[in-house]
């Protein structure tokens, strides 16, 4: 029998196969949208009827949140990408073959990410994340330009090493679990592992976590493992940048969280918190400084993604009900905001015909809607109220300062530096006399403003159901 859980996997898989065959980008683009919409609906149904988790697939409060977020952003991005790809085809940057390939890959990516999220088996999860990485590698290189290939290659090599490290960690977890649980699949199943984690061998778990932290941390884009991220964002098609920042990073983070829970349950093991806090702080501050010398608008926002991932990892590393809640909220808000920003940036790049910040200016004059959309997005991402990210940053900082004042101060420093970097550029991009061509952007602004609307609402009012869900998860994460 096929329940919703299987649905979120089968629909993208089928769509991928279909899209690989169908020619012509208009129809396929629509099909792409339909497929993602269906996936979204199926995912949403998870909240209504929760299927029982088997030994390979699993659904609980934690990954429900992630799945719905993934499928939602996947949907909106597909809407955006429909118009975006259309423009790319007309401008001739993409050939029909590549468009077909693109859509197939898009669905494959969706499939891989969903699989990683619902996998109840650490091995399966690893496979899924590898698949997701490879598909994104191919999409990053899709323009076949010198820079694109270079970015893809960099991503590929670093990604592969990350994958290898993650695998080694996975094996170690299995080794730790086997004496307790016994041989076979059972020793790789989340639901089982969690129950018995307390009796695992701590030393093995420690080594395992180190490898997993680095392996999946590479995907999360934590400094100093981040190198692939800015280029991949900058050179790939914008929808992919949106998906990368909005989703793939989260998926890797999800894996990390699972293993953190595992370690947290084991009294003998090293506390995962401090490691995550350290890497989070490094990423946040480092990325903040990197914002200042950026000449490419997409690369700049890629670095801001690193910064926010740092904040999120920091929050989860701190742990505790408030911090975990804040981490989840921040992750959600960041996904929505950052993808919205990338939508805007995609339109900008198409209007101005460039990604060079120096050649973009006065958007609020030349393209008011687009310009103010970007301003709103940056205001949100910089953590200014009344948008959602302010709430999460408020919770993270205020809850941290009471416990670890200095950490909070460092974090605040990073956030301030980042704010400075973002608004320094925004001043020239959005305001002042218009620069560059001012073509009409014939794209749909719906996805962008939909995301921003959600972020805005969340900043003012959060539905109790959502809050309750988040709080459960926060408790789950300990």
């Amino acid at each position: 029998m096929i329940d919703a859980l299987a649905g979120v996997l089968l629909i993208p898989a089928a769509a991928a196969a279909l899209l690989a065959l169908l020619p012509g980008y208009r129809m396929t683009a629509r099909l792409n949208v339909v497929a993602t919409l269906l996936t979204l609906l199926t995912a949403a149904s998870l909240f209504v009827v929760a299927p029982t988790s088997g030994s390979y697939l699993l659904v609980d409060d934690l990954n429900k949140v992630f799945i719905v977020l993934t499928t939602f952003v996947g949907f909106t991005t597909s809407v955006f990408s429909a118009s975006y790809i259309g423009h790319e085809m007309e401008s001739g940057r993409l050939t029909p073959t590549f468009a077909r390939f693109y859509h197939a890959m898009y669905q494959t990516l969706m499939f891989a990410m969903n699989l990683a999220l619902v996998a109840n088996n650490i091995g399966l999860m690893w496979v899924a994340i590898e698949l997701a990485t490879l598909t994104t590698v191919l999409m990053v290189g899709i323009y076949r330009t010198h820079e694109a290939l270079e970015a893809a290659w960099k991503y590929f090599i670093l990604g592969s090493v990350g994958i290898a490290l993650a695998l080694f960690g996975t094996i170690l977890v299995y080794m730790a679990a086997r004496p307790v649980i016994g041989e076979g699949v059972a020793a790789m199943v989340w639901t089982v592992l969690i129950t018995k984690a307390a009796r695992f061998d701590p030393a093995l778990l420690n080594v395992a976590f180190v490898f997993l932290l680095l392996g999946y941390g590479t995907k999360v884009g934590l400094a100093p493992l981040h190198a692939w991220l800015p280029d991949a964002h900058a050179e790939g098609p914008t929808p992919i940048s949106a998906v990368l920042s909005g989703l793939l990073l989260n998926v890797a983070l999800y894996a990390l969280l699972r293993f953190k829970m595992l370690l947290a349950l084991n009294p003998g093991a090293i506390a995962p918190g401090p490691l995550m806090v350290t890497m989070g702080l490094i990423s946040c501050v480092f990325a903040a400084f990197m914002l200042y010398r950026r000449r490419d608008i997409k690369r700049m926002f890629a670095y801001s993604s690193i910064e926010h991932m740092g904040i999120i990892v920091f929050a989860f590393g701190m742990g505790g009900a408030l911090a975990n809640f804040a981490g989840l909220l921040h992750m959600t808000m960041h996904s929505l905001t950052k993808s919205a920003i990338f939508f805007a940036v995609g339109h900008i790049a198409q209007v101005k015909g460039t990604q060079k910040i120096a050649d973009i200016g006065g958007l609020t004059v030349s393209n008011p809607v687009l310009g103010w959309g970007l301003v709103l997005g940056v205001v949100a991402i910089a953590g200014l109220p009344p948008l959602g990210i302010f709430t999460s940053e408020f919770l993270v900082i205020s809850s941290t300062f009471a416990r670890e004042p200095w950490l909070a101060v460092i974090l605040v420093f990073g956030i301030l530096v980042a704010l400075g970097g973002l608004f320094l550029r925004l001043g020239t991009i959005a305001f002042g006399a218009p620069r560059g061509p001012t073509a009409k952007a014939d794209a749909s602004y719906v996805p962008m403003f939909a995301h921003l609307a959600i972020v805005f609402t969340a900043g003012i009012y959060m539905p109790p159901a959502l809050v309750a869900g988040f709080q459960n998860v926060a408790k789950l994460l300990g």
């Binding site: 091995g123 960099k154 170690l172 004496p179 076979g184 080594v207």
Partner: protein, 222 residues
């Protein structure tokens, strides 16, 4: 009992020799020789996997062994051999740090992996424990190779020996599912890398496969 001891010793021997071969790789400064040593690496791995298959009587591991043997010991080296010929870079490998320091670093890494792994309480069976220690050192040595060699072929080799270490660990982990799938997946990954090198060669975007040339354009350098 005797079998237990024997099986342990053999496995231990094979794993240890894998580490040894990794050191030999570090020692090489000719591409051809490096290729051959890597083939040897794969060979030893195949043997050890096969042995594991035998003592765990897990037939599916034989498949992994075969993959290791055929794909890594024969196909890939051959392919890389052709690349080297094509690119005419069979002269020498320019290393970042000299062989001596590389060896010393390697020693340090092995020692580190020992220290880390022997922390593991003995109730996890010694076989696994020793295997892991060796596997970890192989992984680290492979990574070391990747970062100390400038040219792409040797980096690919480094990556593959890293991955050999993974397979060693995976097979050493008694009764671990998905081992075969994983090794297959990795072979695909490596194939991608090799193809990538071919691809860049064929499209003649980069005049050499020296990784530095590969990212001559880096991000925003104007």
């Amino acid at each position: 009992m005797l079998r237990g001891n024997l099986s342990f010793d053999v496995a231990h021997l094979l794993a240890g020799s894998l580490v040894l071969v990794s050191f030999m790789q570090l020692y090489q400064d000719r591409l051809y020789a490096l290729l051959n040593i890597f083939a040897l690496h794969a060979l030893v791995l195949a043997a050890s996997v096969a042995w594991q298959a035998f003592i765990q009587d897990a037939p599916h591991l034989y498949l992994t062994a075969t993959i290791a043997l055929v794909f890594k010991a024969i196909v890939i080296p051959a392919a890389l051999h052709r690349i080297i010929v094509r690119l005419g870079i069979h002269r020498e490998i320019e290393t970042v740090v000299g062989v001596g320091p590389a060896m010393l670093l390697g020693m340090g890494l092995v020692a580190l992996s020992m220290v880390v792994m022997l922390r593991v309480t003995a109730d996890a069976d010694p076989l696994a424990r020793e295997d892991l220690a060796f596997a970890l050192s192989v992984v680290l040595l492979g990574l070391l190779m990747m970062v100390t060699r400038r040219n792409a072929v040797s980096q690919v080799i480094g990556f593959m020996s890293l991955e050999n270490g993974l397979v060693l660990a995976a097979t050493g982990a008694k009764g671990m599912p998905l081992v075969v799938e994983i090794s297959v997946a990795f072979s695909v990954l490596i194939a991608f890398i090799v193809i990538g090198i071919f691809l860049f060669r064929i499209r003649e975007r980069f005049d050499t496969v020296d990784v530095q040339a590969l990212d001559r354009f880096r991000g925003e350098r104007q």
